[in-house]
């Protein structure tokens, strides 16, 4: 597939001197759903703001649909729809008026039939003549989505579309995003939830402290995420891991009271039961067992370690 967004060496230093992006390279393919994962302050919003024209890059370049975002900002921005993280709305205006304004701002002639379709798709048609101040938070977020869709973008940025949204609306949002993808729209969304990336994305990028640490097909990443750690608290401390356990590649903690085994939940044989059987055979007693899911945090930690090692 052809790429629709090309980001090269993108850096951002805020006026305060803070370096929010430290040279990001990324290419987004046309028609894909790309999830950008990262903790608070990672630089997700900063990156989106630069691509959309809200912030200026300090270095590097971005093209959208072949248009440079600075030199040919009209071409680039025409292709983009943005739903920002914060709810910014014209509180005293009617829903339908602000959606029409958005369409006009992007240079398109008025099209009531199209606006009606969007508002119906987002279950906002009944509220079209309400002032925005009269809507709930979730409805306001949908108004912002309607505004972004009103000008028929090829690329849609959703900055934490499901923050502060109830479970049902979250499902609706996922459905909507799926439908948009069917129509060929490229979608880039940011989220803190692995579950969300898992549900929707084709590819996932992980960003931390202004650096893109990994970009991977979701299925490949899910394999990594599917790993769990089994900790076995031993009845008696051990000096070293017995050679018989080499096959499981277990690690012993510093005081010798606990061994850890990392396994793949998706694998046919996780190796958990065989390990426990082996421990029994060897006469190694244990007081407690627990497993924990590798979280996004763990991935960060392991990524950081890998980086240091490299």
């Amino acid at each position: 597939m052809a790429s629709i967004i090309e980001i090269k060496g993108l850096t951002k230093r805020y006026a305060s001197g803070f370096e929010a992006l430290k040279g990001v390279d990324l290419s987004i393919e046309e028609g894909e759903i790309f999830a950008l994962l990262g903790p608070n302050g990672a630089g997700k919003t900063t990156m989106i703001s630069i691509i959309c024209g809200i912030a200026r890059a300090s270095g590097g370049s971005v093209t959208v649909a072949g248009h440079d975002i600075v030199r040919d900002y009209r071409g680039a921005r025409t292709a983009i729809g943005l739903v920002p993280q914060e709810l910014h709305t014209d509180q005293f205006e009617q829903v339908i008026d602000t959606v029409r304004l958005s369409r006009g701002l992007f240079g398109l002639p008025r099209n009531d039939a199209y606006v009606e379709k969007i508002l119906r798709d987002l279950s906002l048609w009944d509220k079209r003549n309400n002032r925005i101040i009269e809507l709930s938070g979730g409805m306001k977020r949908r108004v912002m989505i309607a505004k972004a869709l009103s000008h028929e973008p090829r690329v849609l940025f959703l900055d934490e579309p499901t923050a502060g949204v109830d479970v049902e609306l979250r499902r609706d949002m996922w459905k909507l995003i799926g439908e948009l993808r069917q129509t060929g729209v490229t979608i880039i969304l940011t989220t803190h939830y692995i579950e969300e990336a898992e549900e929707m994305a084709d590819r996932v990028g992980v960003i931390n402290r202004g650096e893109l640490m990994l970009v991977e097909e979701k299925t490949a990443l899910m394999k990594k995420l599917g790993k769990k750690t089994l900790s076995v608290v031993l009845a008696d401390p051990m000096e070293s891991v017995p050679a018989e356990l080499a096959e499981w590649n277990v690690t012993l903690n510093a005081d010798g009271h606990e061994i850890e085994y990392i396994f793949d939940t998706q694998a046919e044989r996780t190796g958990v039961s065989s390990l426990l059987r082996k421990l029994g055979d060897l006469g190694i007693g244990y007081k407690d067992l627990n497993t924990k899911q590798s979280s996004l945090e763990d991935i960060f930690v392991s990524l950081v370690h890998q980086e240091k090692a490299a």
């Binding site: 809200i54 009209r74 910014h88 709305t89 509180q91 006009g104």
Partner: protein, 256 residues
């Protein structure tokens, strides 16, 4: 100059006028009431003792000044709020992310604000007719002058709106600079009526040139020559456009 996105200009312009329409009653009543009050106080009470200034009936003499005063405040207020509010509420994100040039943005916002202040100016002009006989010597020059003033002060207001980082900053220039200068700008008297140190000092007040020029379009004469007035308005226009150009180029208080 890049003007391609006419739909965008039209959309912003309509949206802004729509915003004004929501408060049209106060928007129109205020100038009518203010003008009436000025006529009662200055035209009626003071004018009865002071029949003529420079050979013009006092009631008629103050009309250009009154129109100018209201138009200056309206222009600055509307244009500064028009751009400050999106900044304040955060909806400016949409303007910044739209395929619209700086020139187009300014035309739309300043155009809408100028339209409103022209409407207000016209209403005051019509209201004044209820109180005094006014014969306009140069009607086309008058309309043109009103248009120029509306545009230059809306540009000024636009700059203020981008610069302001809080509501009090938004108010401070109009209240502390523009209103006093307008009062001392010869709206209610002729500069010739002042004794000399004051009279010379007055000539440093830019508003004097505006009111004088506007008065010239009514009566064929003003405190200073009409050329100076036009020169002043032209200078102000150019300065404002230059400042706005710089603001957009650098993203001053607009882009992070």
């Amino acid at each position: 100059m890049s003007l391609q996105n006419f739909h965008a200009i039209a959309s912003i312009y309509k949206f802004e006028l729509h915003r004004f329409r929501r408060t049209w009653l106060t928007g129109l009543l205020v100038p009518v009431i203010t003008t009436t009050l000025y006529f009662v106080v200055f035209g009626g009470a003071i004018g009865s003792r002071m029949t003529e200034v420079d050979g013009i009936a006092y009631g008629a003499f103050i009309v250009p000044g009154l129109i100018m005063m209201s138009m200056l405040t309206e222009s600055i207020f509307n244009a500064s709020f028009g751009i400050y509010m999106p900044k304040y509420s955060g909806t400016i994100y949409e303007l910044l992310s739209a395929p619209i040039s700086a020139t187009e943005t300014v035309i739309a916002y300043v155009g809408a604000a100028a339209t409103k202040s022209l409407i207000v100016g016209t209403i005051i002009f019509l209201t004044a007719h209820l109180f005094v006989d006014i014969h306009v010597a140069h009607p086309f020059a008058m309309a043109g002058f009103m248009l120029l003033i509306a545009i230059s002060f809306c540009l000024f207001g636009f700059i203020l709106g981008i610069w302001a980082q809080g509501f009090e900053q938004l108010q401070v220039i109009p209240l502390l600079v523009v209103t006093p200068l307008t009062f001392l700008g010869g709206a209610f008297y002729s500069v010739h009526m002042l004794a000399d140190p004051w009279r010379t000092m007055t000539l440093f007040n830019p508003i004097v040139y505006l009111i004088s020029g506007f008065r010239w379009t009514f009566f064929g004469r003003g405190d200073v020559a009409i050329e100076y007035s036009l020169l002043f308005v032209a200078a102000m226009l150019i300065l404002c456009i230059a400042i706005i150009g710089w603001m957009f180029r650098t993203g001053y208080r607009l882009k992070k």
